[in-house]
Amino acid sequence: MTSPVTAAPADIEAGAAVTRRVDARRVTRRSGRDKRRKRLEILFFVAPALALMAIFVVYPVFSAARMSFYRWKGFGPMVDFVGLQNYSRVLTDDVFGQAVVHNFVIVFASILVQLPLGLALALLLNRRIRGRGLLRTIIFVPYVLAEVIAGVVWFQLLQPRTGLIETVLTSVGIPVPEQGFLGTPDLALTTVFVVLTWKYLGLAVLLFLAGLQGVPDELHEAAQLDGASWWQVQRRITIPLIAPTIRTWCFLSMIGSLQLFDMVWILTGGGPANATTTMATYLISQGSQRSNFGIAGAASVVLFLIGFAMAVAYQFLVLRRDTRADA
């Protein structure tokens, strides 16, 4: 009789253990199923984006890279393998060299001009001034406009003699260039840059304003109590605190400047006399216009590598501080 009695608790224990084990197994099985389900869910929702990315980004990159080793006119089989010849043609082409220089001029000019200007405007618009909403809208509207539409409007404004800008300038006695601002090789790139600044300043101001929202008012108050001037507050507190935003903007601006195409294409088409060619206009003119798809492919690979190298370098040298701070 004892044995059943003694056996009973053991059984119970064993039973409990079994139940626990079963529970544990059920839990692990359930959590395993959950995990798998979660993975499937992620896959399901991400798949369309991945597919689009593969079709429109990954495939074209590899396709352009492949194209760059062939002489190919855009139709028929790609069979005329020429090795690195297309690359040597691109890299020795004066026009491409000029294009790279123009891209870097825009990269540095953007940061040197648009950064201080955007920061100043953001600080100004962050103060309580009358008509702040209207001013913010005026500055941001150009960025919302389609680039091509903005380009066409500026092209008309900049028409020699008859355009609004020359009419205004001559009426107040400022001399205008004989061939117009866009038609004079020495002025064309500067003119394009001015239009780009008008177009993209709004983005800088918007980002900086958003960054400024994250700066707690208490810091300003504390600094003011300590007797700091407005200028000192901005320089010692506000700007260091929105530095991550500034660095992110610089990155976006740099990549945008390297890929610059639309505005140049509309305003000058890369001219006059190649004064405003960029890497992107070069590869369009070689590919779509001259049907030298191999050369265009090589140029696009060079553009990709320059962009990639700059992005990685920036990530390592500048942005790493921000990501490390987050972690």
């Binding site: 079709i55 429109f56 495939y59 074209p60 990159v61 396709s63 352009a64 492949r66 194209m67 006119k73 855009g74 139709f75 028929g76 790609m78 043609r89 008309q156 028409q159 020699p160 003699r161 008859t162 004989e178 061939q179 117009g180 866009l182 038609g183 090789p185 064309a188 305003l267 000058t268 088409g269 001219g271 006059p272 006399a273 190649n274 590869l283 369009i284 003119s285 590919g287 779509s288 216009q289 001259r290 049907s291 030298n292 798809f293 265009a296 696009s300």
Partner: protein
């Protein structure tokens, strides 16, 4: 749709399929792309297709009318994929030769010999490769100076210039009268390049030019001479302000727009100019009665024929994969009947002699006379030499307009691009 909107990088995505069946699919359906997207041309071509269907029971013609630029883009994508419409437009020259080499176009020499026989052989040459005809030109025009008769009269010019010297003198007269003499859409490059084509046509003998098209050899000194003649003209500064970025024919501030609105006295442009100018003026009349035309002047000491004309046009081609009935459609399109209707509707400059008298527009009728009396019509160089050499040439000429290339450099740049082709 993906293909037509694809840019350079994704272009091959469309080319990867090797299914070469023509759109439309079966032997009973013919797809036909054309760019007569406005009335009366659009309706006329629909009627033509219906008439053809009536004469060929069981055949269905699928007509697709597109704006010209759309058609060019779609054709480019179609060439890349090899999936061509059955009947489409070819501009001839090097471009056509490339399509022939890739096996995309059908040889029409035998099947359409009757129609080919009617077309002026000088006109037809642009659509022949190795003596075989691959497309039938249905509208061919010539390039020349379009001018404003009133402004010429105002400047005291009573006779259009016949030599480059006279042209320079007239430029001075116009400037003296406060009129901008010439507009040129150098921003698009080809309008500037047309000047060099013409000075080359006036400087070089026909044989030299014909050789150059096949041998891609530009060593004859006449090509440098052509650049020198042009350089002299550019130095007169006859052009509209900002001409280096002026577009050819988009908007009122384009080169054609400036002529149409009476702001310049003349422009070197193709046979389409009156139509373009009509579209750029509010009353849709363009220059109207003031429109005048004179051929490109002779170059002093040039070996070229001053009567020779630079021109080009459009031809109907049949895709290699098309059903045989497509060839019949093209033959029908070149028939006396269809070409006469084409001429009556002022859709272009017909090539079938039976139709040339039916052209009602006086400006176009005049051009047909010039074309048919010319000893030969040289196809636009950029078309004749193919896109790669042609655009290198155009870019170099545009640089000469900007004062940044010498006559020798035009030849060198062109030769360099040509050597890459060999």
């Amino acid at each position: 749709m993906l293909c037509s909107s694809a840019v350079l990088l994704t272009a091959t995505a469309c080319g990867s399929g090797d299914d070469s069946s023509a759109s439309g699919g079966d032997d009973k359906t013919i797809t036909w792309w054309h760019n007569s997207n406005n009335e009366p041309g659009k309706g006329y071509y629909e009627q033509v297709a219906e008439d053809f269907e009536k004469d060929h029971p069981g055949i269905d013609v699928e007509v697709v009318a597109m704006a010209h630029e759309d058609m060019v883009d779609k054709l480019e994508a179609a060439f890349q994929s090899g999936d061509l419409p059955d009947v489409y437009m070819e501009r001839g020259g090097g471009e056509l030769a490339d399509h022939v080499e890739a096996g995309l176009v059908r040889d029409l020499s035998e099947d359409a010999s009757e129609e080919i026989g009617k077309i002026n052989s000088g006109t037809l040459a642009g659509w022949q490769v190795d003596g075989k005809t691959y497309a039938l030109p249905y509208s061919v025009g010539v390039v020349g100076f379009w001018y404003n008769k009133d402004l010429f009269a105002k400047a005291g010019i009573d006779q259009p210039p016949a030599t480059m010297e006279e042209l320079s003198a007239d430029v001075e007269k116009l400037k003296g009268a406060g009129i901008t003499p010439v507009s040129v859409g150098a921003g698009d490059k080809w309008p500037a390049a047309h000047y060099w084509y013409y000075t080359a046509l006036r400087s070089c003998e026909q044989d030299v030019l014909e050789d150059a098209v096949t041998s891609l050899d530009f060593s004859d000194p006449c090509f440098v001479k052509a650049g020198e003649a042009l350089e002299g003209f550019v130095e007169d500064q006859p052009f509209n302000p900002g001409f280096l970025t002026t577009p050819a024919q988009e908007g009122a501030t384009s080169a054609s727009g400036l002529l149409a609105t009476g702001q310049v006295a003349m422009e070197l442009q193709g046979h389409w100019e009156p139509g373009v100018m009509q579209g750029l003026t509010e009353d849709e009349k363009g220059l109207g009665d003031k429109t005048g035309w004179f051929p490109f002047p002779a170059v002093e000491g040039g070996k070229g024929d001053p009567e020779a004309a630079l021109g080009g046009g459009d031809a109907w081609a049949v895709a290699e994969t098309a059903p045989d009935a497509a060839t019949d459609l093209v033959k029908y399109l070149l028939s006396d009947e269809v070409q006469q209707g084409f001429a009556k509707n002022d859709m272009g400059l017909p090539t079938n002699p039976a139709a040339t008298d039916s052209v009602s527009d006086p400006a176009l009728a005049g051009l047909i006379q010039v074309r048919d009396s010319a000893p030969f019509v040289q196809l636009y160089f950029d078309t004749a030499f193919g896109t790669s050499v042609g655009n290198a040439m155009n870019d170099a000429v545009a640089l000469l307009f900007a004062g940044e290339a010498t006559p020798q450099e035009i030849v060198d740049e062109t030769q360099e691009a040509a050597d890459q082709e060999k």
